[in-house]
Amino acid sequence: MSKAINPPAPGATDPKIIRNFCIIAHIDHGKSTLADRMLQITGIVDPRHMRAQYLDRMDIERERGITIKSQAVRLPFVADDNETYVLNLIDTPGHVDFTYEVSRSLAACEGAILLVDAAQGIEAQTLANLYLALENNLTIIPVLNKIDLPAAQPEKYAAEIAHIIGCDPESVLKVSAKTGVGVEELLNEVVKQVPAPVGDPDAPARALIFDSVYDTYRGVVTYVRVIDGRIPERDRIKMMSTGETHETLEVGVISPDPVSSKAIGVGEVGYLITGVKDVRQSRVGDTVTLAAKPAAESLGGYRDPVPMVFSGLYPLDGSDYPELREALDKLKLNDAALVYEPETSVALGFGFRCGFLGLLHLEIVRERLEREFNLDLISTAPNVVYRVVMDDGKEIIVTNPSEFPGGKIAEVHEPMVRSTILTPSEFVGAIMELCQTRRGNLLGMDYLSEDRVEMRYTLPLAEIVFDFFDQLKSKTRGYASLDYEPTGEQSADLVKVDILLHGDPVDAFSAIVHRDKAYNYGVAMAAKLKDLIPRQQFEVPIQAAIGARIIARETIRAIRKDVLAKCYGGDISRKRKLLEKQKEGKKRMKMVGRVEVPQEAFIAALSTDENAAKAKAK
């Protein structure tokens, strides 16, 4: 095929030749590679400038092979019928924490490529996003990728996909994004199968925001899909959820670098820049209209991002606190879902209680803070949001275990999720056992193919946040995958377990757990701390308590001797340096009451959940 010679101009493109589509895929099933290949085949990226995973702009995305922020790229394409089409590839985030963002990206499309690794089959998150796409009435084009791999089993997985979406296995396309085999055919199928957008060019403008990104030089860049009418440059637009108005300083399309235009028209996908500096003023899911002639109704579906998981972030070095604040302020410009407020911890000093969409979101924010802002951080064990109803009817929202009330509690409500686990059938028993210990409730299970099963559970989110991924992965040798979405709350017998060191509660270790598990948590935490905290000059009891009741106890015996023998041959320097080094080590200790606790002890004691977050991100 050839490169389009005179690509249709943005703002003046007939909707009939537009195809808006996205790729639904699991992490590392090859979405970014496929997107790269599309850029190459349509000729919009010079081969000399091609670099792997072109569309993933952030370092972290490139390194982890995952896409956090979606972007849209306009690909002019001369199809088999010799007509020139405009393909808008809308890149979707591929992760459970970003379900809402995914749903908005999907709402901007008429079709979706379901991309599945021919050696691994479909994964839970892909399945969840597929269901979302089906709910949005998108045309699905099923594709198996990596058919060049020796381990590929295209027939098996084609049958699996066909079973799930109800199509003929023969219609599943087979490509290798790596070598390019089948990619051009795929683009032709997109042209053939994905419906052209339909919208009213003369109606009051309505455009869906499916992403907004903060850029240091330009301010917020908002990505929109125009549903009706057109969005011109140098005009006043209105955000329908807030009623705020802004001037469009620039509008355009990405191909794959920004190209400004006079307008973006009906059915098109593009960007607009208004000069606002905070993505909160340009929220994903909101409807953009023109201030002078506003639409009567928004496109619907807008939702404020709701933080589901909270964690305290503390600088290892207390003097970095102002830097942490500044870094969070900057990240916030680009992350409408991130919330935080200052908090102090007896154990960890000054920090912030931060709210995240989920564990991956937490991990990404933490990693960006460490990498882009050069901060060393401790994060406390992630916890969910509890709604505590007191006997007198008063309600308290708890985002930090240390705020859990001590008085007369009538009921505690915890958030629940509906989860989907895909697994080889041999692990069904192990997963049932795991979910049972995590207070799960089996909703049903289906065989996707002979040996692959979809299991559906409701689970308390708190149980997932507490090392569920680690356990799931280790019980299934890494084969099972998980997706979940919030599904209300339930009342449960939950208690706060405090950990006391020498009588002083260590706030960072308090946890809200089910009463049946309180004892185990207390015993495990006390034992862990006993090993991690060095002996002091006095005996240090470690206690786990529910209210005033002690449920577990360990004792760190007093150190009796630290003195080193002689200074051999008058080697005073060596001894002095040794003691100086020891003293340096002590400086990094935190005082809990009179007890010196090394930073490493806090990190290690809080580590289970950190590992879980990492396992999940992999």
Binding site: Q537, F538, R557, I559, R560, K561, D562, V563, L564, A565, K566, C567, Y568, G569, G570, D571, I572, S573, K575, R576, L579, E580, Q582, K583, K586
Partner: protein, 382 residues
């Protein structure tokens, strides 16, 4: 004015003990390294270094007040040669009237005749490396002497006219029991010694013992056990009329090792021989470690020093606290800065420092404080 001492290092041993990381070599090792240094050729090199040092420090007119021959095993050198080395120090620097001259000695390699020669040649004090009376402990430490030899040597030393006789003990070795230690202490009490040094076994990296501990063949000695053994030692020695004058050293009145005290009081000393450390007016220096490298410098008539460190004021203060706190005479509280003083006050309440001495302006360790001195030092630096 600071006093001047001299440390003479004798880097030879008949065999290497499994726990030892000292700068010492067997004849076989030296031969393998291709050096011509032997116990016979060594004394001339030492005397050459003494002469060189004297010339280098011609303006220092202090006489030497203590000399210590350490090792290694000094008594592997012919006694007359040790005396000849001592004479070279005396003729170059001069000695104070009450000069103390100590040599370490291995009970295995010293005879009554040797001891008589040493005593007649000006040595005043001898310190025997006894370590333990328990055969299992001696075997673990890879010491070659049988316990009885030490007591024979002590008696020989007395007969040769030595006024001060000391033994070194090592406690807290893997496999040592409380009764092993009691047996050792009973033998000490029966012997005519006026000084005991007792060190808890430290598993030093790179030693055979460390390798055995790493392989799990022997357990790592526990600090709790060591603390308990220290209690046993302190109690027994007190009953013998010995009191601690430094954390690891006990003596009868007048039996203190003045050379040792000179270290803790941060005085000046010459370091002679391979790897020997020296201290002079705020500068610490140390010689090249290997006997061959050291000897090559001496033969060329240039300094054998490997490196030196000019101490900053803060280093000096740190050292004064670190050293002074270990002595029974204690540390003047005026040495401490405000934050260190506050820590000292706290340490009194914790039972680590003596409250009466504190009122008198001194930081003196209590019994418990002696066992926890290192941690306290770091706090007093503050």
């Amino acid at each position: 004015m600071r006093t001047l001492s001299a440390y003479v290092h004798i880097p030879f041993c008949a065999s290497r003990c499994g726990y030892c990381d000292f700068n010492t070599y067997t004849a076989a090792e030296l031969q393998r390294d291709g050096t011509s240094i032997t116990t016979a050729t060594y004394p001339d090199r030492v005397i050459a270094e003494v002469n060189w040092l004297r010339k280098d420090q011609a303006s220092d007119n202090r006489a030497i007040s203590t000399v210590f021959f350490g090792g290694g095993t000094p008594t592997l050198i012919d006694s007359k040669e040790l005396v000849r080395i001592l004479q070279s120090l005396k003729s170059t620097y001069g000695f104070t009237d009450d000069v103390e001259v100590t040599t370490e000695a291995n009970p295995d390699s010293v005879t009554l005749q040797d001891l008589e020669i040493l005593r007649a040649g000006g040595f005043t004090r001898v310190s025997f490396g006894h370590q333990s009376s328990a055969a299992n402990v001696l075997a673990l430490l890879e010491r070659t002497h049988t316990p009885g030899k030490t007591w024979q040597a002590v008696s020989d030393a007395r007969n040769a006219g030595f006024e001060h006789v000391s033994v070194d003990l090592i406690y807290g070795s893997p496999g040592e029991t409380d009764s092993d230690l009691s047996e050792t202490l009973d033998q000490v009490s029966a012997a005519d010694v006026d000084h005991v040094s007792a060190y808890s076994l430290i598993v030093e990296p790179g030693t055979r013992l460390a390798a055995r501990v790493a392989r799990g063949e022997v357990p790592n000695p526990s600090d709790d056990v060591a603390a308990h053994r220290y209690e046993l030692i302190d109690a027994k020695l007190q009953s013998l009329g010995m009191t601690w004058y430094e954390v690891s050293n006990w003596s009868k009145p007048g039996g203190e090792c003045r050379h040792n005290i000179a270290y803790w009081r941060n005085q000046d000393w010459l370091g002679i021989g391979p790897g020997a450390h020296a201290h002079s007016a705020g500068t610490r220096s140390w010689n090249l470690k290997h006997p061959a490298a050291w000897a090559a410098r001496v033969d060329e008539g240039i300094s054998a020093s490997a490196e030196s460190e000019v101490l900053e004021l803060s280093d000096i203060r740190h050292e004064e606290i670190m050293l002074g706190l270990r002595l029974r005479e204690g540390l003047a509280l005026s040495t401490l800065e405000d934050s260190g003083y506050a820590q000292a006050q706290l340490a009194v309440s914790e039972g680590l420092l003596d409250p009466v001495a504190f009122e008198e302006g001194k930081a003196i360790l209590t019994f418990q404080g002696r066992l926890l001195a290192d941690g306290l030092v770091a706090r007093l630096w503050a």
